[in-house]
């Protein structure tokens, strides 16, 4: 009989996610150490003539502290991805869509890019954000079908999420903000009380488009 399902599995998943979020918090705490200064060399060496190569601008590095949108109290939308609570600041949110029936997969792309959905005559690039924010070994084998798309960057990108939860009004002081040394550049900060990761939406959009995560 399959009447008794296994709550321990769910518990393990929950524990794993909590451990992951704890890891994020710890990582942010560890980042407080200043980086070792690089030795300076004053030797003048003839510079080779280098032809400038047009390259996409690298995503901006952030200074320590809250981003401009969090200078004062701000609101975030909480949504859940593979069990993990994530947040986007409302000022950076362009809309929420029910997961479209039709998503056209684009060949030649990795699983992070699920395909294109149409919204008001515009193509929305649908991203399986769980694959970015969760390590591969933390991705549950069985995931619920995404319920909604979180639209960012003028609705160019849609982040597939399990479900949308609530909005929170936060003080900048209630968030541990990511420092420039952080290993997860998509992370703006972590809400300590709610154990929730706030996405750096601007960085995310730039990095998704360029494929550069440095």
């Amino acid at each position: 009989m399959s009447a008794r399902r296994q709550p321990p599995v769910l518990m393990e998943e929950q524990q794993a996610l909590t451990a992951y979020l704890d890891g994020l918090l710890q990582e942010i705490a560890e980042e407080e150490k200043p980086p070792a200064a690089a030795p300076e060399t004053q030797e003048r060496v003839p510079q080779p003539i280098v032809r400038p190569v047009p390259a996409p601008p690298p995503p901006e590095k952030k200074d320590h502290g809250p981003p401009p949108w969090a200078a004062e109290r701000f609101q975030c939308l909480i949504f859940r991805v593979a069990g993990l609570p994530l947040a986007v600041p409302l000022v950076k949110l362009n809309g929420i869509l029910k997961m479209p029936q039709q998503i056209t997969p684009m060949p030649g792309h990795g699983p992070l890019f699920m395909g294109l959905a149409q919204h008001q005559g515009q193509q929305v690039k649908v991203v399986d954000i769980a694959r970015l924010v969760l390590p591969a070994d933390r991705l549950p084998e069985q995931r619920p079908s995404p319920g909604h798309l979180i639209l960012i960057d003028e609705a160019r990108w849609g982040l597939a999420c399990d479900r949308v939860e609530e909005t929170l009004t936060l003080d900048p002081q209630s968030v541990r903000w990511r420092t420039p040394q952080g290993r997860r550049p998509w992370l703006a900060g972590t809400v300590t009380r709610q154990l929730c990761a706030i996405l750096d939406v601007d960085y995310l959009a730039q990095a998704l488009a360029s494929g550069r995560w440095d």
């Binding site: 056209t104 997969p105 684009m106 060949p107 193509q123 360029s210």
Partner: protein
């Protein structure tokens, strides 16, 4: 002030559409020579994985590539609907195996949105753009970029 012509119809081109893994793709009709039912394809040992083999087309040897494999899609056994589309790219003639051929459509340049810019994945450079038709997206393929220069050369020398 110069008189503007009112009959400036947007530049339109005709495309042959085909299906692959439930999605619709379009290629410029000017590059399509003919569409064949799948006949005997002789495998070529040592050929790249996306090369199915060669066929004899009225005395000429034509290399056939599997569009699904080339685009990283799952394999599918050819069936009655499968077709080999004979195309010409820069003087080189090859066949591409597709799930089925659908129709010829006309697309104005402005109807084709640029290819989705996601990451720097080289393997999707052949996507020229996407066009919305009847609520569905059609993926427009730039056949010139279906293979790299080295791959075109390799296919030519099979």
């Amino acid at each position: 002030m110069a008189k503007e012509s009112v009959s400036t119809a947007p530049e339109a081109s005709q495309y042959v559409t085909f299906r692959l893994a439930e999605e619709t793709y379009a290629i410029n009709v000017m590059q399509v020579q003919e569409v064949l039912r799948v006949s005997e394809i002789a495998p070529v040992p040592g050929a790249p994985h996306y090369v199915l083999g060669i066929i004899n087309l009225r005395g000429n040897v034509v290399t056939v590539i599997d569009a699904r494999r080339r685009m990283g899609l799952s394999d599918k056994e050819p069936d009655d609907a499968s077709r080999v589309v004979i195309i010409e790219v820069s003087g080189q003639v090859i066949g591409i195996l597709v799930d089925s051929v659908a129709e010829v459509i006309e697309l104005a340049a402005k109807e084709v949105d640029p290819a989705p810019n996601v990451g720097n994945d080289e393997s999707s450079k052949y996507i020229q753009g996407v066009a919305s038709r009847d609520g569905e997206l059609t993926i427009v393929v730039d056949l010139n970029k279906l293979l790299t220069d080295e791959e075109w050369a390799e296919v030519a020398n099979l």
